[in-house]
Symmetry: C2
Subunit: 342 residues, 2 copies
């Protein structure tokens, strides 16, 4: 037995009035008598009428859906950004459609296309690691006026608004904090310097040192991956060189964790002998026996800001203008035991 939804046409037939009247009554149109409005509302409820937003969208050109493309949804960072976007847009009647690129530009391209086919009103994306050529993104801009918003992992494409955090500042405040705690010889675990975000964190580190009268020593900048093992290896390398510093600013929480593990193994006390600070404020940093200081990227806020940028964009679009926005959020320092010397 197939259950068919009631339509405004069904209501109009039952009530012997036109569909136009029903539609207007349902939409609280000013020039419809209160009596009919009430009657329509009542019978609509009786017949269990549900508005078909598909038909509405086809007519209006607005689906009230936005797409989000992320590498994976189940990381703290990305799921938190998604949460922020959903919370910002939900009150305005928007729904968010989630796609995972699996760090594959081909999948990313496919998702972008089907999202456009689905007539979404906007697309939020953090590009995949394999996204070098950005033609698939640019072409959307050329052929539609659906706004695209980059968050965190951006590409420089004219006409696309971005929401990121100030990684430079993040590197700066983390390093400055270590200096203020009395550290004199601060190492940096850098992450993949091919990525802009890591280069920015490094530059913040350098500037903070310079501003406080320290020399930047190249041997103190250790290229380190974003894994626990990478952190372990980095410490081993420093140990072998007999150049354990008195502080480490790691561009990754996971590497910071690995460093802590290996330092402990070598009976080096944290933070007394080596102060440690990471980046991202992963949930685990606060649960450790020795909680790790970290720089928070405020991902929920990032999502909310991205949502706001989208809403403004939509408003501008309808009035013809279109301003590219660049929102840069301020990273938040979370000081914990691993770096507190005083």
């Amino acid at each position: 037995m197939n259950k068919k939804n009631a339509t405004i046409y069904d209501i109009s037939k039952k009530l012997n009035i036109s569909v136009a009247t029903v539609s207007r009554a349902l939409n609280d149109h000013p020039r419809i008598s209160v009596a009919t409005k009430e009657l329509v509302a009542k019978t609509a409820k009786e017949m269990n009428y549900k508005q078909n937003n598909l038909a509405k969208a086809l007519k209006s050109g607005e689906t009230k859906n936005v797409g989000i493309i992320v590498p994976y949804v189940n990381t703290n960072f990305f799921s938190s950004v998604i949460r922020g976007i959903e919370e910002e847009l939900s009150p305005f009647g928007y729904h968010v459609i989630i796609c995972q690129s699996h760090e594959e530009v081909n999948i990313e391209r496919g998702h972008l296309n089907t999202l456009m086919n689905a007539q979404v009103d906007g697309v939020f994306m953090s590009v995949s690691r394999t996204t070098v050529d950005t033609e698939h993104i640019r072409s959307i801009l050329d052929t539609s006026n659906t706004p695209i918003i980059f968050f965190d992992r951006k590409k420089d494409i004219p006409g696309i608004s971005t929401v990121t955090i100030d990684d430079y500042r993040g590197g700066y405040i983390a390093t400055e904090h270590l200096i203020r705690e009395g550290c004199k010889n601060i190492c940096h675990f850098s992450g993949d310097l091919n990525l802009e975000i890591y280069r920015n964190r490094l530059n913040g580190y350098k500037q903070a040192l310079a501003d406080h009268g320290f020399q930047v020593k190249e041997e103190n900048i250790i290229p380190t991956g974003s894994s626990i093992e990478a952190g372990v290896e980095a410490i081993k390398k420093l140990w072998d060189r007999k150049s354990i510093p008195d502080a480490i600013f790691s561009a990754s929480d996971f590497a910071a964790l690995g460093a802590c593990q290996e330092l402990k193994k070598k009976k080096i006390r944290i933070p007394q002998e080596v102060a440690v600070i990471g980046f991202s404020n992963e949930p685990f940093t606060q649960f450790m026996e020795l909680p790790i200081s970290s720089v928070d990227q405020t991902p929920v806020m990032m999502g909310k800001m991205a949502g706001q940028v989208f809403l403004e964009n939509i408003k501008e679009n309808s009035s013809g203008i279109s301003i590219e926005k660049k929102v840069v959020l301020t990273p938040q320092l979370h000081i914990r035991k691993s770096s507190k010397r005083k």
Copy 2:
């Protein structure tokens, strides 16, 4: 300047053929000549034609969208289930729409309605904590044939398929593991026993004890919340009673972590004096200096299974039948340092 999408009508005009032919050519209809197909495909690309799935959906009654309602997206468990659903359904052309209930039944109801208005082809949900009355869910079942699938947090509603894990078995294997490690006096931190999942874990614990010839002592069952603090408090209580056990099976990883922290503070060695095992396999459990054993709920697999149940459901629906499915997943034991005595 507004960019309008090309339609099949535009193509038909340009090529002086009918829209029907264009539509059929684009859909690779068998009775269309190869020549026209190629011609249409070529000009479609030239004109940058994008299919409007809205119109298609309005016609076919299939949006290829499914909705997911969870309390929050940014927890490891829920974001992992979402990942599983997306990965299972994406190859079949489905998109997933995410909604957060914020544990509020009113918001949940609202989302459910707008999802139905959006004509989704199915809804996956984990009910909010405040969902007692389930009328809003039942009414969907009565008035549409859109399948609803519960995962993890289910309600018993005839006609709704569910995907859950076997919490009873989870409690059983965790307890049995502790017994096999030689523990003789095993405490249970129970979680909120108003919730079915926690009652099941407790029952598994009891049965395992019984099966191995141990008596179940009521004083060994400690009602404990799902937070770090709750775990700390539970240990303090046991300490005051002078009844520290030789093992703890906690129904929550967070409470297990709190227990570990407090035990350490009291200089009680883990696992030698007290073995500890938690539940959920939260990411942090493996990152600790003393990694915590835990029972994994296989959330990604749960999502994938839910996706499969949906696909089967859709297939059955179209052929008239409709079988309610109850998938129960097997929890996975992850043995780590905190419970390894041998």
